[in-house]
């Protein structure tokens, strides 16, 4: 259940970031996950889909990069490029 509450925190954080950027269409969330953060990758991936349901993040992908440290951060948002979308 721990991973679900973390997934909800990710969704909350990403929603805020999207809003601040004028709600671009999100494709994927890139996350750096330290081995010492105590989070299980598979469980988090599973929880992420559940947490996204009914939010602007529904159907997006979570891309996890594993590192040795304690850090746990959203590093980047992959969005649809407006310039092309306008074509």
């Amino acid at each position: 259940m721990h991973e679900l509450s973390i997934a909800v925190s990710i969704v909350d954080a990403v929603c805020e970031e999207l809003q601040r950027r004028g709600d671009p269409r999100l494709i994927a969330v890139h996350l750096t996950m330290g081995a010492l953060s105590g989070v299980v990758k598979e469980s988090l991936l599973f929880a992420y889909d559940a947490a996204c349901e009914g939010t602007p993040l529904a159907g997006t992908q979570l891309v996890i990069e594993e590192t040795p440290g304690e850090e746990f951060l959203v590093t980047a948002l992959e969005i649809e490029d407006e310039r092309d979308a306008a074509d």
Binding site: A13, S37, D81
Partner: protein, 215 residues
């Protein structure tokens, strides 16, 4: 077909809890309340140790306790026998306490009326490590019956704590507890960490613990 583009954000996911914990920490400081949390695996003796601690402090200080549990208020009932104010936080399916739960639980209490507030976390050696509760001291407990290598197996919780407490020391001989191996395991994940050995049954080690928190 549209192209995609990456925007860099570098945002800490635990930010919300971290911010709230920082607020709590400031409130505790302003109120002059020393907040101490206990974490351990289920059954390591948090409640027993806390019962003894509350009983020993209660005559000289204003103390209270919060206790987290998934489903019951058994621990709160045990702690309430020490006659200090106790509040249960029932977490449902959540495997740890977070700063918001603590904040909500504190709503009816006036912090400045308390010298010490103890928080017993849900029995779990993994999840609580990621959630700062604003406490000024976090103690991680391990009992002599659960294996000397716990620190090496669960380094993150030991990283998040300030002091390690080896509990049920009265049973050490019966289970052939290897004191040196346990200390080496703690030292390996957290060099220089303070280690105390206690028994809630006999009271061994309690003076050292009380000296540590009354400093």
């Amino acid at each position: 077909m549209s192209e995609t583009r990456l925007i860099e954000v570098r945002r800490n996911v635990f930010k919300k809890n971290d911010l709230l914990a920082r607020e709590l920490r400031a409130r505790y400081r302003d109120a002059g309340t020393r907040v101490i949390s206990l974490v351990s695996s289920p059954g390591s003796g948090k409640t027993a140790f806390l019962e003894r601690t509350l009983t020993e402090l209660r005559g000289r200080f204003r103390v209270a306790a919060l206790v987290g549990d998934l489903a019951t208020d058994n621990d709160a009932a045990r702690l309430a026998r020490t006659q200090v104010p106790v509040k249960q936080i029932t977490t449902g399916t959540v495997c740890h306490l977070d700063a918001e739960m603590v904040q909500d639980a504190l709503e009816e209490w006036t912090l400045s009326d308390l010298d010490f507030l103890f928080i017993e976390n849900v029995g779990n050696l993994v999840c609580p490590s990621s959630y700062d509760l604003g406490e000024s001291l976090r103690a991680v407990l391990m009992s002599v019956t659960e294996g000397e290598d716990k620190p090496r197996k669960y380094p993150t919780i030991f990283h998040s704590a300030d002091v390690a407490i080896i509990t049920k020391i009265d049973l050490a001989d019966a289970v052939e507890f290897d004191r040196a191996a346990a200390r080496a395991s703690i030292e390996a994940v957290r060099p220089g960490m303070k280690v105390l050995e206690v028994s809630a049954r006999t009271g061994a080690g309690m003076p050292e613990w009380l000296a540590e928190i009354e400093r």
